[in-house]
Each structure stands twice: as structure tokens, then as C-alpha cells.
């Protein structure tokens, strides 16, 4: 009787070993929104991010609001971490970026200056 169950026991042990070993190391980890943000520092090209959203509708609404007050070439695009960001690319320097952020603040936007993803 014991011999009859032994192969089943072996099968069960092998089948369960892989998920147990994998799950012992924790479930898959995804970068948080904060880890996807690389604040601007030093010289080099920057981008101004108006906000990050999970929902495309909210991102598009933010972009449309920015376009409506006169900002141009604002895009909605994925940030590579599962979020959509509303962004203006190709800001040449930190000084220009700070001017742009101040201008945006005057019309009610909180803009973050970031290094573009490599």
C-alpha cells in the first residue's frame, strides 16, 4: 500500500518544490512611482512632468488643461513603471526648467523637473 502512494508523493514533492522555492524569495516586486522619478540635477537636458496617473483619462485631462492655458507640445506617455506621465520634453538646462516651473506654478500647476529616462 505504501509503495502505491510513494510515486504520488514524489510527484507532489517535485511539483510543489518550484513554487515553494520561488515564493520563499517573496512575490515579484515592481518599482514604485517614487523609484521611477529621477530628479533633475546638474546640467543636461531635462523634462518637466506635470503629473503621473494610472488612468489615461486623468492624464489626458491634465494635458488638455495645460494646453488650454497656453503650454505647447505637452505629451502623455508611459514612464516605464506602469504609470502615464504628462510631460514636456527637451528643456535645455536647469535654469530654464526652474523658470518654466515657476511660470507653471503661477497658473496652478505643480511641475517637477526630472532627468529623462535613459
Amino acid at each position: 500500500m505504501r509503495g502505491r502512494w510513494a510515486p504520488w508523493l514524489i510527484l507532489l514533492t517535485i511539483v510543489l518544490s518550484y513554487p515553494v522555492i520561488v515564493l520563499a524569495g517573496g512575490s515579484p516586486r515592481f518599482p514604485s512611482a517614487r523609484e521611477c522619478i529621477h530628479p533633475a540635477e546638474g546640467e543636461g537636458e531635462l523634462e518637466a512632468v506635470f503629473g503621473r496617473f494610472r488612468d489615461r483619462g486623468a492624464a489626458v485631462a491634465m494635458r488638455d488643461r495645460a494646453l488650454a492655458v497656453g503650454f505647447q507640445e505637452i505629451d502623455v506617455e508611459g514612464d516605464g513603471c506602469g504609470f502615464l506621465k504628462v510631460v514636456l520634453h527637451e528643456i535645455p538646462s536647469l535654469a530654464v526648467g526652474r523658470d518654466f516651473a515657476a511660470e507653471a506654478r503661477n497658473v496652478g500647476f505643480t511641475v517637477r523637473l526630472e532627468r529623462p529616462p535613459r
Binding site: 502505491r4 502512494w5 510513494a6 510515486p7 514524489i10 510527484l11 514533492t13 511539483v15 518550484y18 520561488v22
Partner: protein
């Protein structure tokens, strides 16, 4: 990627399985519930094949694809198959008793089955978060599926603008069905649909060969093919190549079973899978001809009784693709014939030898297919020396014709460079058809040889 999407995929594949069980009932029925369990992989693949064919017809006749039509088509196929089964006198076995005798499992099956399960678990883990990187997958297979999902059918303008116009929409339809069940066009979780297909194929082969070949040969051969670098890397890519290979391998296996047992259900099953292969990729026509021609040649002594059946199987399989071919003509889309034209091979004779050399070097490339093809050659030799001559002949002819087909695929398309680079020549993917067939060719050939040797002693 979310748990909900995975649950949706499980539901779709359960539905394919249920429909497939009905198709299996129509094809052959089962003598016991244990036998149905053994053939559950085959049942699932029957569901994929039959519903895939129906979906291509449905799209061709401009019937939109939605959850309602996915269920409706399944109900129609299932009911029709059950009615055919009843008409043919098939009946369900008595209901299983509560106290069934315990199922026996051998040590070999436990060890190798466990390893296969671990392999599939690892593939699931890799596929769960796989990106859409393969060129053909993102350039036209998945866009076609998305178009079917969003627009409900084959949008004329959209499909005209895509590459691979002549490829039938069986795989895009299956992917669109997956999107419907997942609730979104989730191109990441979509890889898991191809995991279910791999699982179904593995289950079908095990179910069909169990009891016919020694366990060690069956599991060893299966695992060897599963761990080849190409299968490991590409089996879950959301494109049609692997499903084509799986359909072809199953169709050719059922033909082999028919050659041995003369069971009509096996020939009907082979017809179903070869038709599905033809509606998966245009290469399916060539592979279907290879399998049927090999069977025709080895049945020459019984030509009068067997050839009409084989010819009928080929005609039925090809006829099932007619609506799609008509649509191609009606919409003025590419037919997908050889680029060099009908007699173009003769004007490109200089490509013949390099194309053959490319085919052979691909098949024997350790870094792509390990030692699968050398083993096949040895198994065929063993079969000829001391096995069943008819089956060995079938295996040898099938292999030779497949090599010819792979060679033709490069020779007849002069724009393809002579290279194994997957981005510019599909030879590696195409050779997968023969390699997947070795999963059953090698164990059947060696088991025959062993049996004959034992009888001689």
C-alpha cells in the same frame, strides 16, 4: 497583468476544453472516465482546433467576435459534435463510483512528470510578465488580434495595411477571444494563452502515447524537446509558429496512429488538426501535404482501400480553408504564394544548395534544437533495421518531405537571405514543426524496434 486577467484566461481555456470534450465524444468517445482524463489534453487541443476553424469562418463571413459569439460558436460546435457522436452510437460510460480504485503511477512517470510540471511552472512564471518583443508578434499578430477585439471583425483597411496579409486569422481570433475573457487587450498576460496551448499539446501527446511506448522513452523524448533552447525561448510568443507546429505534430501523430490501428477516428482527428494548421499559417498547407503524402506512399500496398480515405482527408482539410482563400481574393489581398512564382525555383537554382544547407544546419544546430534531430535519424535507422517497416517508412518520408519543405521555404523566396537570423528568415521557427513531431516519432520508432528485437529473441 492582473489576477483577474489570469482568471479570465483560465475561463476561456476551460471553455475550449469543454467544447473539445464534446468534439472528442463525436470523434471517438471514451470507454471510461479515466480514459477521458488521459485524453484530456487531446480534448483541449480538439477544442482549440475546431473553435479556431469556426472563428476563422465566422470572421470571414463578417460575423463579429464578442463574448456572445464565442460562447454561441462553442455551443454550436459542441452540440453538433455530440449529435454526431450519438448518431455513431457512442455512449457515456457508467458514472464514476465514489470509491474508485486508486490510480496507479509508476516511479518513472512520477519523476519525469514532476520535472515536466516544474518546467511548465517555470514557463508560466516567465510568461506571466513577458514583454511583447518578438518582431512578428508586435508588428502584425497582436495588432490583428487587437483590431478584432476592438472592431469585432476583420477591418478591411486595417488588415490591408499590415504585413502578413495572407496569414489566416486563427491565432488573432484566439488572441482576441483571450482579450475578451481578460477584459482588456493585455499583451503581457496574453503570453499565458500560449502556455495553455503548450500544456494542451504536452497533455495530448502523453495521452495518445501512454500505453503505446515505454514510459522512459515517452517522457525522455518529451522533456528533451521541451528543454531545447528554441522551445524554452519562443514557445509562449504570441504568434502563430508554435501553434502551427503543435497542430501539425498532432495531425501527423494521429495519421501514424491511423496507419497502425486503422481507426477512423484518428484519421478524422488528423483532418481536424491539419485543417487547423492550414488556417494557422500558410506553411500549414505545405506541412499538411508532407504528412498526407508520407502516409500515401507507405500505404501503397493497400492503395485501393486506403488512398481514397487519405485523399478525402486532404480534400476536407483544404476545403475548410476555402472561405478564407475566397476572402483574400475578394479583398484583393496577397495570396501568400511563393515569391519566386510557380516555376521560379528553376530561375533561382543557385539558391537550392544554400537553402538545403541552411535547413540541415538549422536542424542539427545544438544551440537551437540540442540533439533532437540526430536522435531522430538514429531512431529511424533503428526502425528500419528492426522495427515496423511501414511506420519507419512513414517517419523517414515525413522527415525528408519536411526537410524539402523547409528548403523550399528559403529557395522559393529570393528576398530571404540565407541565414538563421530570425528577424530576416523564419527557417528556425519553421523547422520547429519537425522537431515537435520528434516528441512522438522517436519513442514510437524505438519502442517498435525494441518490441521486434524482443520478439526475435
Amino acid at each position: 497583468m492582473s489576477l483577474g486577467a489570469i482568471v479570465g484566461l483560465v475561463a476561456l481555456n476551460l471553455w475550449l476544453f469543454v467544447v473539445g470534450v464534446c468534439v472528442l465524444f463525436g470523434l471517438r468517445g471514451w470507454n471510461s472516465w479515466v480514459e477521458l482524463g488521459r485524453l484530456s489534453g487531446l480534448a483541449y487541443m480538439c477544442g482549440v482546433g475546431s473553435l479556431g476553424i469556426v472563428w476563422v469562418w465566422q470572421l470571414t463571413f463578417s460575423i463579429g467576435m464578442s463574448l456572445a459569439t464565442i460562447f454561441g460558436s462553442g455551443v454550436i460546435v459542441g452540440v453538433a459534435a455530440v449529435l454526431v457522436g450519438l448518431r455513431l452510437g457512442r455512449r457515456l460510460p457508467p458514472r464514476p463510483m465514489l470509491r474508485m480504485p486508486p490510480l496507479r503511477l509508476s516511479l518513472v512517470a512520477a519523476l519525469f512528470g514532476g520535472l515536466t510540471a516544474v518546467y511548465l511552472e517555470a514557463q508560466f512564471r516567465a510568461g506571466r510578465l513577458a514583454g511583447l518583443y518578438e518582431f512578428d508578434a508586435w508588428s502584425f499578430w497582436v495588432p490583428k488580434a487587437r483590431a478584432i477585439y476592438y472592431f469585432g471583425g476583420l477591418d478591411g483597411q486595417f488588415f490591408q495595411g499590415l504585413a502578413g496579409q495572407s496569414y489566416p486569422p486563427l491565432v488573432p481570433a484566439l488572441e482576441a477571444a483571450a482579450f475578451h475573457f481578460m477584459g482588456a487587450a493585455d499583451a503581457v498576460t496574453l503570453h499565458l494563452q500560449f502556455w495553455f496551448l503548450l500544456l494542451g499539446f504536452v497533455g495530448a501527446v502523453i495521452g495518445l502515447l501512454a500505453g503505446r511506448v515505454p514510459r522512459l522513452l515517452l517522457w525522455g523524448s518529451l522533456l528533451l524537446v521541451l528543454v531545447t533552447p528554441h522551445v524554452v525561448d519562443y514557445a509562449l510568443q504570441p504568434q502563430a509558429d508554435f501553434l502551427l507546429d503543435e497542430f501539425f505534430a498532432l495531425g501527423a501523430l494521429l495519421l501514424a496512429i491511423w496507419l497502425r490501428d486503422r481507426a477512423d477516428w484518428a484519421l478524422c482527428g488528423a483532418t481536424l488538426f491539419l485543417a487547423a494548421a492550414m488556417l494557422t499559417k500558410r506553411e500549414g498547407y505545405v506541412l499538411g501535404v508532407c504528412a498526407l503524402l508520407a502516409a500515401v506512399v507507405v500505404t501503397r500496398p493497400q492503395a485501393r482501400s486506403l488512398w481514397p480515405r487519405l485523399v478525402a482527408a486532404g480534400l476536407v482539410a483544404a476545403a475548410l480553408t476555402i472561405p478564407w482563400r475566397v476572402l483574400l481574393v475578394a479583398r484583393d489581398l496577397e495570396g501568400g504564394g511563393p515569391e519566386a512564382g510557380g516555376l521560379g525555383l528553376l530561375s533561382h537554382l543557385e539558391r537550392a544548395w544554400p537553402s538545403l544547407r541552411l535547413t540541415l544546419s538549422t536542424l542539427f544546430d545544438f544551440h537551437i534544437w540540442l540533439i533532437v534531430v540526430p536522435l531522430l535519424v538514429l531512431a529511424i535507422l533503428a526502425g528500419f533495421i528492426s522495427g515496423d517497416r511501414q511506420f519507419s517508412g512513414y517517419a523517414a518520408l515525413l522527415s525528408i518531405l519536411c526537410v524539402a519543405a523547409f528548403t523550399w521555404s528559403t529557395w522559393a523566396f529570393p528576398s530571404l537571405p540565407i541565414t538563421k537570423a530570425a528577424a530576416v528568415n523564419p527557417i528556425v521557427r519553421f523547422t520547429g514543426a519537425l522537431v515537435l513531431a520528434t516528441v512522438w516519432l522517436v519513442p514510437l520508432l524505438l519502442a517498435d524496434a525494441r518490441r521486434t528485437e524482443a520478439a526475435r529473441r
